[in-house]
Amino acid sequence: MPNSPSPTQAPSRIPSNRSADTPSAAAMGQSTNNVPSGSLNPGDADVLARAQAGDHQAFAQLYSVHKRRIYSLCLRMLGNVAEAEDLTQEAFLQLHRKIATFRGDSAFSTWLHRLSVNVVLMQLRKKGLSLVSLDEAMEPTPEEGPGRSFGSPDLVLTGAIDRLALERAVAELPAGYRLIFILHDVEGFEHNEIASMLDCSIGNSKSQLHKARLKLRDTLRTQKRREERS
């Protein structure tokens, strides 16, 4: 299992939602969606301190603030309600056991997110799902290398992509790609934050994300071809 959350992570600064007129290049490189909003305001810091001191009521308040974000992460990654509930439970139980070790050097929300990502990763490994090694990300395989990305321009995925089709395609991604795609493109984390959460390099995070998008493109184009034939 990856290490428990490091209190030395860089502070999380997740930009607010992208505006409608944000250039697409920004969307590609600077993800800002579904902003994790678990940062504690001064009043919440008191709640955190009380929870760290063992105040159960305060811990319940922390749960209330962060439950939606953590449950959504689990659900997005596992795609299964029962498993998402179990993992949410496990993440908050781990939080309860480790909360006293949080020193406040980083945003609490980032620390909790990292802890939860680790819980998800553990579960994926336990299930033996294809977690593409983060270390392998920089090595393009013949199947996934640059040449694979060519395609006839008439099959450009212009216009709106069917949301359900894309969600299905995301669900088919290898778990490692899916995790980074969800963290970056869906949840809005930056590459440096993802690298910190997953103990990988920023370059690795970028490469994995790129491969995830390429795989999604392949899947969607294949589907589009089928639709055009029928």
């Binding site: 439950k67 939606r68 309860h96 480790k98 869906v186 920023i202 493109r217």
Partner: protein, 91 residues
């Protein structure tokens, strides 16, 4: 690498794409993209996917039972003498 940016082959350009995009640069202005229809199409597709991802998997509240289970488990651990900050041996 073969010459300047506009002289890149498609494979060379695509090998640079993760870094280019990851830095938040507008890859569409890259000289290679300006002159290559295939890479322009690829970039447009990836942008479309990144844009569409914003709308995926709306966040949802966990059911109340999740907290009930957490609450019970915490109380069980406390009854077993496990204090916060200590990781119990799980069976």
């Amino acid at each position: 690498m073969t010459g300047g940016p506009s002289k890149l082959s498609c494979a060379e350009f695509q090998a640079q794409m993760p870094e280019l995009i990851g830095l938040g640069k507008d890859a569409a202005t890259h000289p290679h993209v300006q002159s290559c229809e295939l890479c322009r199409a690829l970039l447009a597709d990836l942008e479309t996917i990144a844009e569409a991802a914003r709308e995926l998997f709306p966040s949802v509240e966990p059911p109340d039972e999740v907290w009930e289970h957490i609450d019970s488990a915490i109380k069980r651990e406390q009854a077993d003498g496990i204090e916060p900050g200590l990781t119990p041996h799980r069976q």
